[in-house]
Symmetry: C2
């Protein structure tokens, strides 16, 4: 039978409101006892005694057995989550940066204190990828997990590609619609999908990798020439995080724009939608698609986690416990398209092989194979205006 949950919720933004809307329509044996918010003066749509600005109103209340953490600030979220887990409360969070940055410690705390931390809403909104990696693909030989994990950069790419909008206009529109984070670099620079792929990697391969050790580059240097190049070849450019087992000992993780053709399921993922591609030895290619952001989709994922807590659900982290031989690596040869301005960059990058070179007064590119370590070592150069790098699948 299900346990009654008494919930304390940190934050009452778009996801919190969405979650509240959903719960209202349901009879779920759960009660939201308290919201803790930053700004006590804001007018709220619910009775005032439901709100407090003091974290103790939740953390110090022994009746509250479940904490839902939906705040922006990753450091504050981390402090709250640790305290809650250590005081016997289960936690549901959608904070990808917090989870990714502290995952190994958070797994240990869950183990030591017998509490459960669920975070489906942190990765690709409503798409149940963590649950499926954890439960359904737990015996699969996973070749790779990749996809479109960031709705806001994908929205921008859709507008730029399909509607010939300028990058800056599309970014502004994404922010107005609430798809983009306050700091757009998190999205368009590929940091947000990096946090998510680190979380995915722990459930897919049982490895804990710090986000700062993973290479990411985004779409903020995308230029008209790159778009023309892609279109001439019937390709689209998508921002893709990848977790991939390259041999029996090594898993690579990285975030790079990718040139994607019509034969890929990712080609048709447009606007704020997300898509996750799972390649496995036996299930073969699987694809999950859905809304990656927004109050209701993320709220729906958070509610699924809350509902699962009623039945004592917890991630088992089986793959980590099985002490596999897999380690994180950046030693991996990939094929890239690189638009550049300064010829010395090509020398520096030490391509293993350059197969195509193109020169024109306003547009120079090379296509070739290069080690991911080389790319990571020269991130600062690649991030300069005038350069744009994308993987060729």
């Amino acid at each position: 039978m299900s346990n009654k949950l008494t919930i304390g919720m940190f934050g009452f933004g778009v996801v919190g409101q969405g979650l509240y809307d959903i719960i209202k329509t349901k009879n779920l044996n759960l009660e939201i006892k308290k919201f803790v918010i930053k700004n006590g003066n804001k007018k709220r749509s619910l009775p005032a005694d439901l709100f407090s600005t003091d974290a103790e109103a939740i953390l110090g209340d022994p009746e509250i057995n479940t904490v839902v953490e939906l705040i922006d600030d990753a450091e504050a979220a981390y402090q709250l989550t640790v305290r809650a887990l250590k005081s016997g409360k289960n936690v549901v969070s959608a904070n990808k940066k917090m989870i990714a940055s502290h995952l190994e410690e958070l797994v240990d705390i869950q183990h030591d204190y017998g509490t459960s931390l669920l975070y489906e809403g942190a990765v690709c909104g409503s798409i149940p990828i963590i649950r499926n990696l954890e439960e359904y693909y737990d015996n699969e030989l996973l070749h790779s997990v990749s996809g479109i994990f960031n709705g806001s950069s994908n929205y921008i790419l859709s507008k730029v590609f399909n509607e010939n909008q300028h990058y800056a206009d599309a970014l502004k529109k994404a922010q107005e619609l609430g798809f983009a984070e306050t700091d757009p670099t998190l999205d368009v620079g590929g940091f947000d999908p990096k946090f998510k792929v680190c979380i995915v990697a722990s459930h897919a391969y049982g490895i804990y990798v710090k986000p700062e050790d993973v290479f990411n580059i985004g779409i903020d240097k995308l230029g008209q020439q790159d778009i023309r190049f892609a279109k001439e070849k019937n390709l689209k450019i998508k921002l893709i995080p990848t977790a991939k087992e390259i041999d029996r000992n090594k898993v690579v993780l990285y975030v790079l724009p990718r040139l994607v053709g019509k034969d890929s399921m990712l080609y048709n993922v447009e606007n704020e939608n997300n898509g996750v591609l799972v390649k496995a030895a036996f299930a073969d290619e699987q694809f999950f698609y859905g809304k990656g952001a927004g109050g209701h989709p993320t709220g729906s994922a958070v509610l699924s986690d809350i509902a699962a807590l009623r039945y004592g659900y917890r991630y088992e982290y089986k793959k980590h416990l099985e002490s596999s031989t897999l380690n994180y690596s950046q030693d991996y040869l990939i094929k890239v398209y690189l638009r550049y301005t300064d010829d010395t960059l090509i020398e520096k990058l030490n391509f293993s092989e350059i197969t195509e070179r193109y020169y024109a007064p306003d547009f120079k590119y090379v296509i070739g194979h290069i080690n991911l370590q080389q790319i990571a070592a020269h991130k600062a150069d690649l991030d300069q205006e005038g350069n744009f790098i994308a993987e060729i699948a």
Copy 2:
């Protein structure tokens, strides 16, 4: 901790062999003790003492706690499954016809005997749709679940549509590749997807509907005119089972060809692949894609079920237990394209509204709204050569 499983397997066909291949590569705390097969004289790739032609070698062995049922014959599968469940053995099956035809009774037996029957492999091969409906969307207001549930008819449609192959040639090829059932009517007549949508409906809506009460019509009357009609409008024709909540009391189920546009995720599901579209109030539109048939994909789903049994997993059938107010209905107005030869058919069908009529010497069609009850009542007429009906989304 996980329980050791001792497995008896009925059948050693393509899925059984696929499963055996997968298990070989794993260290899973499970043992296959016995295969029961129909033909004892066939040469097998494994030691002879693993095989028996006597069902008692499994059902009468108290050491065997898990039965994996992978035989074609739905009636025999049913008898075995009931005996196994009643004698305290858990069962994993991929037999959609057997499950769909006896689901309510099988749920009762599980309840009465405390045993578990899992059947992810019965619906859309490797796509974890049952598990996700059961676990992840268990609190969602589901508007509909639909999609491409039959790889062999979809393979034929892909060949006919994209490669201008003749229907009969494409069917023959599908059978050679092992995608099509021995009796192709099961696939191309829409029976196989009907079994699957009945199973889906029980997990999505908590209702048990007998397959014989559900309308299905297939693609076997598809003609060149229909293909031309679809192509002129940039549409494809797909065979789609639908389970849909049409109001707070009614769920409709049916299987019909559908004209699908580029904006649908189903448009790009080609060949033997399957795709499941879940529309929900909060998660919005979700899509699951993967291999729908074949030894390894189905074997992978069966293995996920076996692995879950090690941890005592069982479907809770929560939505049924919550005694919802939902009932099965056929009272639903849909928009259809109908090519016909005999004018009296149009009179008989009693369209609510006809919005387009087309006449030519060799091609007549109407487009209009019609109640599903009318369509179901005239299945025999619609099934005549010279007629083809498809839903317009």
